[in-house]
């Protein structure tokens, strides 16, 4: 049974990926789709910086600038950062807990395709009359006044991809609760698994607020509702509350897995057990919990009054405590460790000062009285780019290098990786550090141009130059990826040589059933424990037996595509186009019929028989 020996035709490979329910392939799909949207969002960022490089620039018009700015934020958060986080969660979590797949493989695939079609729908706006232009927060007063269909694309696109994210989050919760290998107790889970667990819980509790908000906005825009229309008795502030009740946990949804990836990297390349494991778990859970208690700090200037501002300021500052615990634990992990400066480790080391800088400005913003000065200035832009780029994006780049061998079976070129790292790090600080001072000098955010002689010219020019450093860094990363895949030098189980968790005990990439026999976990860092006792592989926890696997299915694509079609119908219905209603009905029909087929057709999966597993050469997928 040589799965890799025969070459599949291109069409067969595409069909394989369209119908796959395998978490490893879905992880690759998330990586490709998220990576594509990351490039789109990055291009939009470059357009923003070109426009702002010199005063009175006319590279883009004011209206187009608003669209680019809105789409940059929306794309980067919802279509790039989140899917890339899901890419690594899919690639690593089932392997780390010693499972053969996620709990609901079909739903995993459905989650991806919903995200994908939602993202495509949102980006269709560029070609159909203009993108959303109300900012990524899409405050209701702006949204309701917007003339084009752009904001409708935002509402419906995010609604569709939001369902996908919610499905993905629930799936990981169930997987981590139910599918841990024998011996893998909660307090033996790798920290990336822990952070994915807390992140999934945050998705479960936070996304409903966004769903409700988007539905209310949809009723206001498309069906004549008045939830946010002040002139009709609505309240525009409700949107801000709903958005930020979702929006603040959302930034923790992004940063916690980043912390998880870095925790893995620090322990691996310091060749030391993660310092203060249990306090790391405690801090992760506490950050997740406090994340729900601070949303109003985005609204200090709305006028909630001194009591609300004071309480939310203090709650916000409290988050610095668990975050500080984490920072010190990482430092102490490196302390006395035998550090290996690989590309992922460079990202991890650079992350600490970068993220701390973002955290410090976060505390400055949390001082409600001072925030009246910072609010809507470039200081805030600098702050959140320091936490998102200095935290999440560095983690995603580090994770790309770190997990690439496990996902694709090849090791990215270290020399090119380090060039990418230095260019990106220098570019990042060049772009955003100066923006703190631009903000303090009074430059407001979301302006499409500015007048000369206000002292902002040099700062903006430096910032724009830095952005191009990051652009070049990403291009070198792409070259690195292409070169590595063309050379196709295969690596073994543990290409970093210091792997600690279960994923490094099986081949890269793992066979489609992951573990031939489920492994027995004897402590934190189970593979490290076995290696220290001179063993080459994990001790099996079960005799060799038949493995039950799910069947591939095309239905997730059709379910998601139906909603994609229906969204066009719903949107153009307000223009009294006579084709809109049929399109809406056809789209919903595709979705509902696909769901009906899924419900009534029995799909019991298939078994890999014991005899076939025995015949396979022993290199593949032993416990």
């Amino acid at each position: 049974m040589s799965t890799y020996a025969h070459k599949k035709s291109f069409g067969a490979t595409v069909w394989d990926y369209l119908t796959t329910v395998d978490h490893k392939k879905i992880g690759i799909l998330y990586l490709i789709a998220g990576g594509f949207f990351f490039l789109v969002g990055g291009l939009e960022a470059l357009f923003i910086r070109v426009q702002l490089a010199v005063p009175n620039n006319d590279f883009v018009s004011a209206g187009l600038y608003n669209e680019i700015l809105t789409m940059h934020g929306t794309t980067m958060i919802f279509l790039a950062a989140m899917p890339l986080i899901f890419a690594f969660m899919n690639a690593a979590i089932p392997l780390q807990i010693g499972a053969r797949d996620v709990a609901f493989p079909f739903l995993n695939s459905l989650g991806f395709w919903l995200f994908f079609f939602g993202g495509v729908f949102l980006n269709c706006s560029w070609f159909l009359g203009g993108a959303p232009d109300a900012g990524w927060t899409s405050y209701a007063s702006l949204t309701l006044e917007s003339d084009t269909h752009g904001v409708d694309f935002y509402i419906l696109g995010l609604q569709i991809s939001g369902i996908g994210t919610l499905i993905g989050g629930i799936n990981f919760l169930v997987t981590i609760v139910n599918m841990r290998a024998p011996g893998m107790t909660y307090m033996r889970m790798p920290l990336f698994t822990w952070s994915a667990f807390v992140t999934s819980a945050l998705i479960l509790f936070a996304f409903p607020a966004l769903t409700v908000g988007l539905f209310l906005l949809m009723f206001d825009r498309l069906f004549g509702g008045n939830f946010f229309d002040v002139s009709a008795g609505g309240n525009t502030i409700i949107w801000e509350h709903l958005f930020w009740i979702f929006g603040h946990p959302e930034v923790y949804i992004l940063i916690l897995p980043a912390f998880g990836i870095f925790s893995e990297i620090f322990a691996t390349f310091s060749r030391k057990r993660l310092f203060g494991y249990s306090s790391m778990v405690f801090a992760t859970v506490l950050i997740g919990f406090l994340g729900f208690m601070v949303w109003a700090h985005h609204m200090f200037t709305v006028g909630m009054g001194p009591i609300a501002n004071a309480i939310f300021a203090v709650a916000t500052m409290a988050i610095a405590v668990p975050t500080g615990i984490k920072i010190f634990n990482w430092l102490f992990t490196m302390w006395g460790g035998n550090i290996k400066f690989t590309t992922p480790m460079l990202y991890a080391i650079a992350f600490i000062p970068s993220f701390v800088a973002g955290g410090v400005t976060g505390i400055m913003n949390a001082v409600a009285a001072a925030d009246y000065q910072y609010h809507d200035s470039y200081f805030v832009v600098a702050h959140f780019h320091y936490v998102i780029v200095g935290g999440v994006v560095l983690a995603l780049l580090a994770g790309t290098h770190y997990y690439w061998p496990k996902m694709f079976g090849t090791l990215l070129n270290e020399a090119l990786g380090k060039i990418t790292f230095w260019l990106f790090l220098i570019g990042f600080h060049l772009t955003f550090f100066i923006q703190h001072f631009l903000g303090l000098m009074g430059m407001p955010r979301r302006v499409f141009t500015y007048l000369p002689n206000q002292g902002w010219e040099t700062g903006n020019l430096i910032s724009s130059i830095g952005a191009f450093f990051m652009g070049v860094a990403v291009i070198i990363l792409l070259i690195n990826i292409v070169m590595t895949q063309v050379k196709n030098v295969r690596v073994g189980n543990d290409p970093w040589e210091d792997g600690r968790s279960l994923e490094w005990a099986i081949p890269s990439p793992p066979p489609f059933y992951n573990f031939k026999q489920l492994p027995l976990v004897r402590g934190l860092d189970p593979y490290w424990i076995e290696k220290m006792e001179g063993k080459k592989e994990m001790t099996p926890a079960e005799p060799l037996g038949d493995i039950h696997m799910p069947n591939p299915s095309f239905l997730p694509v059709t379910i998601s595509f139906g909603l994609f079609v229906a969204a066009f119908g719903a949107m153009y219905h307000v223009d009294d186009k006579n084709w809109a209603l049929p399109v809406l009905i056809i789209g919903m029909g595709i979705t509902l019929i696909s769901m009906l087929i899924r419900s009534v057709k029995d799909d019991h999966g298939f078994h890999i028989h014991k005899e076939d597993l025995e015949n396979e050469d022993d290199k593949g997928g032993r416990a």
Binding site: F205, H241, I245, F289, G303, G305, A308
Partner: protein, 111 residues
């Protein structure tokens, strides 16, 4: 001698025990079902009766609703059984977050 050990391979071994357990379970379900019907009747009666002000009736009905939810969760959805610790943790932490949010709205953030 009868084998009552629950971990016996013989499926009939703990039949008596299981029968007793099921009867007990059924009794709880019937009692809580009757109580829920009764609580619903009280709720209707409270609205129907003219003597109470609505400042009493509204919170009272909400209290009855909370009791009904607890019955529903613990007796009909078996949350009182063993092995439901994780769902309980998520349910109550979600509830705590939601209640704190609502509390914040009604006390300090509403403008």
């Amino acid at each position: 001698m009868e084998n009552l050990r629950p971990n016996s391979a013989n499926p009939k071994a703990d039949l008596i025990y299981r029968r007793k357990k099921n009867a007990e379970e059924m009794r709880y379900q019937v009692v809580s079902f009757a109580l829920m019907i009764f609580l619903t009747l009280i709720a209707f009666a409270a609205v129907h009766f003219d003597g109470f002000s609505h400042w009493f009736v509204a919170p009272f009905i909400m209290l009855l609703a909370v009791v009904q939810v607890i019955f529903q969760l613990y007796y009909f959805m078996h949350m009182s059984h063993k092995g439901h610790e994780t769902p309980q943790l998520f349910l109550f932490s979600g509830l705590a977050v939601a209640l704190i949010t609502v509390l914040t709205f009604v006390t300090i953030t509403w403008i």
